[in-house]
């Protein structure tokens, strides 16, 4: 039976085989983990469809193919095939090329019938090895799939969108009163505030589509998650606007955890309408975030530190942080964005957070 690249999301067209959990010749049971696939930074584990012996692997780890491409062949129980491919004798040209290049057959992936190593397989292997050579002194680190994808997106955004940065300083004293007893972070509060503010500023919860601005009814909040040096991923909390503060907090926590542990589903990273980028724990004052097209804005929250603030005519020590928004100047103007930011500030500083949290966690 042929094992093919699965369709892991409605909009997913190709995938990369990242790990084979079985070797050619090994027995595999139906539903046992057979391999892993990465689609647009999301890793998915794929089980074997039938029981039998893995007769051939046609796409090696690292190979990217279209959905539907045959990746491997399982010789099903009760449906035997001819001799296992990996043991098939090497053809004269293959033996010559292996010898000429100092290669062992086990180093080469076979894509011929039944996984046989073909002449082109050896030539391709040699070609790949050539381009992977290290220059003297420097160390060359190939970019991971995720980083490459991130890099592509960042460059595209920066190239096409005229970014304008605006910032407001927010006093989180009121937020602290509500969050500390519940060991919450600032993020859900900012997110909640965003969900309350965006309906008054629909142009910010929108997508630029050619010469039209598509105003989204739903608020799908993208929560940018740093993958610890491996790039960024932005899982999405769908319909964030309809969630209560506790629900929102839980949802954010959940997607963040899934992101960090590599358990996101492909649909978890699609359809965001507005993005929050939380750099708080890095201790920065201000960040100019890069918008995720086709969105028109992104909000960065940086470190909240205790600072002296004016309270009437006296000085108090309050938690203060900067909220900075990058917006797409093609879609909206500074006054609009500024008004939104003032609204956010107002919500964060003046809302009755205890009421939003209700009783209980």
């Amino acid at each position: 039976m042929d094992v093919v690249m699965p369709q892991l999301g409605e909009t997913v067209k190709e995938g990369t085989v990242t790990v084979w959990h079985k070797k050619v010749g090994e027995r595999v049971e139906a539903n046992e983990l057979l391999f892993e696939v990465n689609t647009d930074k999301v890793e998915t584990e794929v089980p074997a469809p039938v029981s039998g012996v893995l007769a051939a692997i046609l796409v090696a780890e690292g190979g990217t193919v279209q959905v539907g491409t045959t990746l491997a062949v399982i010789e099903e129980d009760g449906k035997p095939r001819a001799a296992p491919a990996r043991d098939a004798p090497l053809s004269p040209v293959v033996r010559r090329l292996l010898a000429e290049n100092g290669l062992d057959a086990s180093a080469v992936t076979g894509t011929g019938a039944g996984g046989r190593i073909t002449r082109d397989d050896v030539l391709a292997h040699v070609e790949r090895s050539k381009t992977g050579g290290k220059p003297q002194g420097d160390e060359r680190l190939p970019l991971s799939k995720v980083r490459k994808r991130t890099a592509e997106q960042m460059a595209l955004s920066w190239r096409t969108i005229p970014h304008v940065l605006q910032a407001v300083e927010v006093d989180f004293h009121a937020v602290d009163a509500a969050r500390l007893p519940r060991a919450l972070t600032y993020l859900p509060f900012v997110a909640f505030a965003v969900c309350r503010a965006l309906p008054e500023f629909p142009a910010l919860n929108a997508s630029l589509d050619g010469d039209a601005l598509v105003l989204h009814r739903r608020i799908n909040l993208g929560i940018a998650v740093d993958l610890g040096g491996e790039g960024l991923i932005v899982p999405v909390v769908k319909d964030a606007g309809e969630k209560s503060l506790p629900e929102l907090a839980r949802a954010i926590h959940s997607v963040s955890e899934k992101a960090r542990s590599g358990r996101l589903a492909p649909d978890d990273v699609t359809e965001a309408t507005y993005t929050l980028s939380n750099s708080g724990r890095f201790g920065t004052l201000l960040t100019a975030p890069i918008i995720n097209p086709p969105q028109v804005a992104i909000l960065s929250t940086d470190a909240v530190t205790r600072k002296p603030v004016a309270q009437g005519e006296t000085v108090a020590i309050h938690p203060v942080g900067v909220l900075a928004q990058s917006f797409d100047h093609r879609a909206l103007d500074g006054a609009y964005s500024a008004a939104y930011l003032r609204k956010l500030k107002q919500i964060l500083e003046e809302r009755d957070w205890a009421a939003d949290l209700g009783r209980g966690p």
């Binding site: 004269p92 293959v94 010559r96 002449r119």
Partner: protein, 325 residues
């Protein structure tokens, strides 16, 4: 360019050469007054007269013997043996006499003659009128062997054969007489010993002859469409001299060689090519050389049986599909 049938190209080729060189004469059974049993020599008697275009009795030994005697004394005869199966009737003349006269006389004799004959299956004539015997001629030193697949090649290679100073056995395919093709206007002379690459592909190299050529081309189209297998197809055209350079170069490019032969299995022309490739391209072969041939049986007469014996497009496709991996 003009569109001619394969049979018209035969007459056109003979006429071209008889017009050019008065030493060219033509003899055979029913070739003059009747224009040939396959109507391949229509009009020649009318055009060149009874001195140079002659009907003979049913006497194959006499036909070839006369051609040989005439060739060694200054003429350039074209002799027709009606069905290639009948080469067996005069095989002494062809293999023992014509092929060897020059060698045995240490070059004193030159025999610039052409033996043309209708070869191959497809007409439902049964085992003694349907054979492909070009491999017999290939195996005798001293004979040049040609088997064209298109009207243009018929005319061009026949002209080249007539102009060649050595004996040439020219195998026309009776199943191709009605086929049509573009033939260059004016004088058209091809070269013996040259194969033609009719189609370039990257996965397999298919070598075919005469009526097997169009089948190989059709099979290549199907393999591309249905299996994504891309095939190079070579029309050998000339068995002796053999264009080994082209055949081997194209074999090395893909690493996979197939022959499509109408001969019965043993000692078909493809066996020699397979042997040469195995010896000279061994370290470039990415899989076994596969010969697609008629099985080693006489040819049955019934249409379904005959079609099921000689390599068909379907069998060519299936064989390559099954073994090309």
């Amino acid at each position: 360019m003009a569109e001619l049938t394969y049979r018209e190209a035969v007459a056109a080729g003979i006429a071209q050469e008889m017009e050019r060189d008065e030493r060219v004469v033509f003899l055979g059974e029913d070739v003059a007054a009747a224009g040939g049993v396959f109507k391949a020599t229509v009009g020649l008697l009318e055009r060149f007269g009874p001195k140079r275009v002659r009907d003979t009795p049913i006497s194959e030994l006499a036909i070839i013997g006369a051609a040989m005697g005439a060739a060694m004394t200054g003429l350039r005869p074209i002799a027709e043996i009606m069905f290639s199966d009948f080469l067996a009737v005069c095989w002494d003349m062809i293999a023992n006499e014509v092929a060897k006269a020059r060698y045995m006389s240490a070059g004193q004799m030159t025999l610039p003659l052409v033996i043309r004959t209708a070869n191959g299956s497809g007409a439902r004539f049964g085992a003694q009128h349907s054979q492909s015997v070009e491999n017999w001629a290939m195996s005798v030193p001293g004979l040049k062997v040609v088997a064209p697949s298109t009207p243009a090649d018929v005319k061009g290679l026949l002209a080249a054969a007539v102009r060649d100073p050595d004996p040439v056995v020219f195998f026309e395919h009776k199943g191709l007489y009605a086929t049509k093709g573009q033939v260059p206007d004016g004088e058209h002379v091809d070269r013996l010993g040259t194969a033609k690459v009719l189609r370039e592909g990257g996965d397999v190299t298919v070598v075919a002859l005469a009526a097997m050529v169009p089948r190989a081309l059709e099979a290549a189209e199907r393999l591309q469409r249905e299996d994504g297998i891309s095939a190079t197809v070579i029309d050998v055209r000339s068995l002796v001299p053999l264009d080994t350079k082209t055949i081997l170069a194209e074999t090395v490019k893909t690493g996979r060689l197939y022959t499509v032969e109408e001969n019965p299995r043993l000692c078909g022309w493809g066996a020699e090519i397979a042997s040469i490739a195995a010896e000279e391209c061994f370290y470039d072969l990415d899989g076994p050389i596969v010969r697609i041939t008629t099985p080693h049986v006489p040819l049955p007469a019934a249409d379904a049986l005959e079609d099921g014996t000689v390599p068909s497009v379907a069998r060519i496709v299936e064989t390559i599909r099954r073994t090309a991996g």
